[in-house]
Symmetry: C2
Subunit: 339 residues, 2 copies
Amino acid sequence: MVDRQTARHAKRLRPQEAPISADELTLKHVQAAAERLDGVAHRTPLITSATLDAECGATIMLKPESFQRSGSFKFRGAYNRLSQLTEAERTAGVVAYSSGNHGAAVALAARLLGIPAVIVVPATGSALKLAAIAGYGAQLRPYDPASERREEVAAEIAAERSMTIIRPFDDYAVMAGQGTVGLELAGQAGPLDFVLAPVGGGGLIAGVATAVKELQPGAAVIGVEPEDAGDTSESLRAGQRVSIGEPATIADGLRASQPGELTFPINARLLDDVVTVPEPAIIEAMRFCFTRLKIVIEPSGAVTLAALRAGLVPVAGRVGVVLSGGNVDPADFAALLAS
Amino acid sequence: MVDRQTARHAKRLRPQEAPISADELTLKHVQAAAERLDGVAHRTPLITSATLDAECGATIMLKPESFQRSGSFKFRGAYNRLSQLTEAERTAGVVAYSSGNHGAAVALAARLLGIPAVIVVPATGSALKLAAIAGYGAQLRPYDPASERREEVAAEIAAERSMTIIRPFDDYAVMAGQGTVGLELAGQAGPLDFVLAPVGGGGLIAGVATAVKELQPGAAVIGVEPEDAGDTSESLRAGQRVSIGEPATIADGLRASQPGELTFPINARLLDDVVTVPEPAIIEAMRFCFTRLKIVIEPSGAVTLAALRAGLVPVAGRVGVVLSGGNVDPADFAALLAS
């Protein structure tokens, strides 16, 4: 396991990328993020299902961040980060690399705050997702995944235009924003025995665990990854960040090949477990959301429900479950369910 | 237009089918239904969308009855009706004819109240919908639409087993239950300028209009039908109930070929207008719900949003919009969106 020393070490190695607001991520930072997001982000509801409770033998409370602005929890972190920029930084603008939810979230947060934004996107990306980003008024900078690295393209733009890079997860202000999902959940659900959240780079669950473990120390916080993108569970077993091959999971938001430098130490300290789910279970969870709950959940958002319904987490009592987003093209959705 | 005399006349013609609880449908009956449904039916939320408001130039508040138990508003009417049966009627049980939402709603309400239920369903019906009805524990009685009339099959079963027929709309207790949608909407949304609801047999909008027009007399109540199933708008123009050909609209819950005997006089008195929408607008509304709102709405449930987005209702101010249900097979949904 990795302790706080490692976290400090990781930060010392990259001073130019230092987070803007904190040396550490605590409940206080999550609460401050919640104040910034008040009246801006949606307070997503909790959804319950008698069928699901009966299936799982527990009281399941789903928190659908699909209903969040921009269609995923990512808006919380992006807005919390952008709203803390200095005047000079706001004027120069921001750059992010993402074909998906982080890109849309940064684009929307930037528009709301009047900040110019460039989003570096794969030229091969989903037309629907790219249209959403452009629709929020951000400038798209396509790159060729075969010949360019998106981090480098973003770094060049940042250097040329003095723009601030907004990382998708390895940033304490982003994590604090994502943590407001856990803060809300703990408040809405009452006492919890378990909290499940998806794990990609680890920013969402780091924030959620920070809030939940301080507010409800008795709640076990469990991460869920696709089997094919089990970098965090492997890293936890190894006691250090390990890199896996390029994941090909349908859960496109969770295709991290290694945990974040800043997120991993937090998750190593706070998480009770990280489990992995097979692809068919993810599809079945999406189908359950559609046919029983009447909500649209993208593959990455459905991994928690998939783990639950496949019996991969021995839950009991009161269980909070984060469904992290709902951005999926209807045609892709249909193809997955027909597969 | 048809006045109260006609309503009384219609009722006088069919004394054996008289409603159980009221000579008239008033706010009081809807409020009594709300008390019966309290803690049993879900109080569905209101959903808003900045995109939709900008598109329509009004404040749109959507009430998604897709989140209601059994997946549509029909549960409200069915439960209100069944909960008022006498002990003898409960013991003998109920029979309903429906391949869809009314069947599922009666089946669920019957299960909750411990009442035996037979649902007369087309042998050619959707496997998913029939499975849902059977899943609630009702007995299925398939009929052959080519050679049998479902009303007659139900009447035979009712006579043989002394069962009570639960009509889908032409029943004041059913209408009073559906009216709780309007009662909730009026309470949740505050002052409203417009209320839109789908029109099939007319039970939902009769209940909704009854509640809304007493609570907020200034609100215009507008019905929406598919172009292909415009029996109520034609009947209103004619000043009497007229019958149209067998509708083939994708909105399978709205395929009424003529308005109800009991619903029509109420709707003729209370509705400000009924508009019709073309099929492609319904599909586009379903797509908007999926991609922007992240909710699953069936064709019948989407007609109101379709009318709004197609500019068929000149709304302004504060607008309440009933999305009546979300029971649609994922494969059918995909086929519609791809069409």
